[in-house]
Amino acid sequence: MGDGVTATQVVFWILAVVMLVSALGVVTAGNIVYAALFFIAALAGVAGIYLILAVEFIALVQLLIYGSAVVILILFALMLTRARERPQALFGRTRPLGIAAAAGLLAALIGGIVATQWVTPGSAADFQPIALQQIGDVIFTVWIVPFIIVGVLLSIALDGAIMLASPDEEE
């Protein structure tokens, strides 16, 4: 992609900042719908980073599956928030504690990342996009059993969701 190393990095950082700001929006927004909308922006940012990493397949699956899932989420948020006239308190009492814990976690993670001596990957010239066919080969040979299990899990989850959400007959 052209003379792209630095350009790609610039785009990466822009996407990262957008994504992180949106993620912050998700956890701090005072309105469930706003949080869901921010979440979509965060998702799009993640998908963009997938694209930077040249895994288009995962990026598109991310948009396709998460996109629909989040739309449903928004619908539920609408249903649940409209149920009340009074504004809801969206934060628990343990908010400062939670923020502190999250900050500690972040410090620990970044410390770990910085402290680790990463194996330097090959040069960018060696980099090859991963084709869909490769992913398919791996999924359907090495990971076929987990794949089937995921399929069964999905069916069960679907049934469970229908059962949970369906109205009771006798109530």
Partner: protein
Amino acid sequence: MPDLVLGQFAGVDMPDWVDALLRIMFIVALMTVNAFALIYLERKILARFQARVGPTRTGPIGTLQSIADALKLVTKEDVRPSTADRWAFELAPYIAFVPVFLIFVPMPFTETWFIRDLNLGLLYVFGVLGLNIVGVIMAGWGSDNKYALLGGVRAAAQAISYEIPMLLIVVSVVMVAAGRLATDGDVSAAVSINGIVADQTTTPYILLQPLGFVIFLIGALAELHRPPFDMPIAESEVVGGYFVEYSGMRWGMFFLAEYTALFLIVLLASSIFLGGWNWPFGADVGLGLQIVLTLVKTSVMIVLVISSRALFPRLRIDQLMSFSWKVLLPFAIVQVLANGIIMAYGGPDWVVGLVSFALLLALFGLVFALTRTRKGGDTTRTIQTTPARPRVITSPEVTAVEAGGGD
């Protein structure tokens, strides 16, 4: 004419960024012209159906009507309801519009004309199109209008329901393409739209997947909010749906998105089912005829979609949902399974086509049977008549009362 190689827009060498800019301008120009043309076409076609003549005053036989409309929209005041949610309301048109704009990228107009030939073109189209609905929900929720909210919720439910059968059908098409390409070509082209089109030199996939074509068309009608699936914008129920509070250019953005999506989804359908730029009898027809073929196939389907607006009333939201989940989805799943089984056992193409056709007949039969039972009998006319029985009875007579009776 955009070419595949970056930095060579229309065959002329240039820096990458100029090339990218030119491609974007190409999309914008195409989109605008397309929207103008489609609006005019829709008005004229509907007028024909409805015993009218349509626009006649602006320009020769009204051809400049869309431009006049656009001018009006641009100069119109942009009103935002005072109780509307500011950000959601103002951003919604763009969020609804940008995904549609992005779908242009992998669309093949001829063998070598497209913005970019994406390897995962089909997946890309659906992945991006799904985001369109976010803008619609934002508009519905942000307008702080009950009609808009209902319209937005309806649109979301509808889009999600009809995306699934459509995606399954796309999967079945990709399966067919991969099966065919595995013998004489590169399998990885099976998810690329241009790869699929290139494979249809002699056999348009509508012959191999007739059920797929029908389900895709129905799903497209639903995605595009076209009758009989236009509940989100139902005039007589929710007044106009999610964009009821919009005016001026923001409203225009929704319409631009709608007509662009109409063109693109139909172009997609004609690419993966009707063979896109291919002449169906295998001859290589050259660049000029290829674009004519693409546009002719697309136009025929556009007329089909537009005419549905004149000929069908609107379904109810629960009927729409149950049609998607109880009829289309099972049939799409069966189609995928059938393709898989046939291809796993090395069945030839014509078996795939035949099975799909049988499934299509089953679908029609089922729908026919369902609606007939609903009507309760084999005829819709359960009206009886009783012969009028002229009989003479005393007509109302004047009854005398005391003058000025009452108070």
